[in-house]
């Protein structure tokens, strides 16, 4: 007899056609979806587009999820694909360079907050930080979601930490180096 967690039970219920269970799963992951979409897309309307599309795709392909334990990781992967599709489709440029350039040359140690600093990272680093630190995904799962080797993810996290440390450090030369 299987000893399933509540999450796994919900996923199995949803896979058996229980729409309310699917709804509960999505609502439980709603904040994560918004946060991850925000790491890639600039506007709330695009984030919602991506999330709506991801929810529908997840619903229609739920039967393909083999291990219910990985529902969240699987949902995130779908969402990221949707975000990237929208980015490609709209040819949208995530406007982060202004903040990066400005942050690279000035000292605002007392006003820069961690969230602002994360938003100032390049997308590949911002996404790794969001998934690993804010969504608590282990490095292995982040690697799976982003389709990169674990070593690459570890390296990106390390680079992200260095850059964040530089941005948040009162030493302006460190901060400048962090963006170079």
């Amino acid at each position: 007899m299987k000893n399933l967690s509540v999450l796994e039970q919900e996923v199995e219920l949803a896979q058996s056609g229980d729409r309310e269970a699917f709804t509960r799963l999505i609502k439980a992951n709603e904040a994560s979806m918004y946060r991850i979409a925000s790491a890639i897309l600039q506007s709330d309307s695009e984030r919602l587009d991506a999330a709506q599309e991801a929810v529908m795709k997840a619903y229609l392909s739920l039967h393909t999820l083999r291990n219910p334990k990985y529902f969240k990781t699987w949902l995130i992967r779908i969402l990221i694909n949707e975000c990237r599709r929208i980015t490609r489709q709209n040819n949208k440029v995530v406007v982060i360079h202004d903040m990066k350039e400005q942050a690279s040359s000035h000292r605002f140690e007392e006003t820069v907050e961690l969230e602002d600093a994360i938003n100032g990272l390049e997308e590949e680093l911002r996404l790794c930080v969001t998934l690993h630190y804010l969504e608590d995904l282990p490095v292995k799962e982040v690697a799976g979601v982003l389709n990169h080797p674990e070593g690459t993810i570890k390296s990106r996290l390390s680079r992200a930490r260095k850059k964040l440390a530089a941005i948040l450090s009162p030493d302006s030369s460190d901060r400048r180096a962090g963006y170079e």
Binding site: G17, R19, F22, T23, I26, K27, E30, A31, M33, Y34, R35, Q42, S43, D44, S45, R47, L48, D49, A51, Q52, E53, V55, M56, Y59, L60, S61, L62, H63, Q89, N90, N91, K92, V93, V95, D98, Q102, A103, S105, H106, R107, F108, E110, T111, V112, E113, L114, E115, D116, V129, Y133, L134, E135, D136, R161, K162, L164, A165, L168, S169
Partner: protein, 351 residues
């Protein structure tokens, strides 16, 4: 801060609750409320945007929207369907979309064709803070290239403005929202930014001079009126002030229109700011503005339009002022709380 401290701060950040905009929650709820009966049902042919209902309903609406510019009968039908028969309900400023739902958008329906490119200005919205026109552009041939409005001239309140964009500039232009919807057609909104007082009634002359790399002449003379939106606009000047060690902030004005709640804060900057270069000061004020949050009388955060549009939209920060746009709220007497980080908390009463 060293790397170890960053790691700790990141872990602390992960345990914090995260504000999810109400519109995002509603959008997810709409999808969930309209899931097919069975997950094995075929996928809807087309779903898009904020208004998501059943796949069949949306497909039908999309057909109606695309057809309404050629069929007077269908145009009449779609006018009876509230909020949906407008470009503005699909693209553009989310606050204007709310005003659209309240019936403040005026139909224009002017079409110009040149070099086979058909441009229709479908509707217009105008209040004391926002002016938005809905545009449909249909190209004669399909193209894999991104097609956009390269050059235009417009006239407002007797003043003429010319704008010319590269592709990247257009994609980042806050005055345009632009979305390809299929069949060689784009839906867009043009939202010229203004700070000065414009006439209550006017005609905006809009002349597209290059679209999709083709020089041409697509001219429109669009009547705009604030008669109705002015009736639904209130301006409060609370003038409440709080000081921190580094600056003082005064709530100078709160303007409520059907599309927007604009919060205008004036700043008195302390010594630390005075020693900054102009660039440093600009960035410091920008960061300060990102820390501003406005809460309604129930303590719920007002969704920010400024951040939704990218932090550059609004463009009304200066070394003495921060202006931020939020979703519209009721004109009834109410109260707001304006917070800046942890250091400022200003209760504001609105008449």
């Amino acid at each position: 801060m060293n790397e170890s401290q960053v790691e700790q701060a990141l872990q602390h950040l992960s345990s914090r609750s995260y504000d999810v905009p109400i519109d995002f929650q509603k959008g997810i709820d709409e999808v969930l409320a309209n899931l097919p009966q069975s997950a094995n049902h075929p996928r809807p042919a087309y779903r898009k945007k904020w208004i998501v209902s059943t796949a069949g309903f949306i497909a039908g609406i999309m057909l109606l929207v695309s057809a309404c510019f050629v069929s007077p009968t269908l145009a009449q039908v779609i006018k009876k369907i509230p909020y949906i028969g407008t470009i503005i309900s699909f693209v553009g400023d989310s606050g204007v979309q709310v005003a659209n739902q309240s019936g403040f958008v005026q139909q224009v329906n002017q079409t110009a064709v040149d070099h086979g490119i058909q441009v229709t200005v479908t509707e217009a919205y105008y209040d004391q803070l926002k002016l938005s026109v809905g545009i449909q552009v249909t190209f004669p041939k399909s193209s894999n290239q991104f097609q956009y409005i390269k050059k235009l001239r417009y006239e407002l309140a007797g003043k003429s403005y010319t704008r010319e964009y590269t592709e990247d500039q257009f994609k980042q232009a806050s005055s345009f929202s632009w979305r390809y919807i299929g069949n060689n057609t784009y839906y867009g909104t043009f939202e010229p930014f203004f700070l000065e007082d414009l006439p209550q009634q006017d005609r905006m002359k809009l002349d597209f001079q290059n679209i999709g790399g083709v020089d041409g002449d697509w001219r429109f003379d669009i009547p705009i009126s604030r008669m109705e939106t002015d009736q639904a606009t209130k301006i409060d000047e609370p003038l409440v002030t709080q000081s921190t060690n580094e600056y003082s902030v005064t709530v100078k004005k709160i303007i409520r229109t059907p599309s927007t709640t604009r919060v205008i804060l004036s700043l008195g900057l302390g010594e630390r700011y005075q020693s900054m270069t102009e660039d440093e000061l600009g960035y410091a004020i920008h960061l300060l503005s990102t820390k501003v949050k406005v809460f309604d009388q129930n303590g719920k955060p007002l969704p920010s339009i400024t951040r939704d549009r990218g932090s550059t939209f609004g463009g009304i920060t200066s070394d003495t002022m921060i202006g931020l746009d939020y979703q519209p709220i009721s004109l009834e007497p109410t109260s707001l709380t304006i917070k800046i980080g942890k250091e400022v908390e200003l209760p504001v009463k609105l008449e």
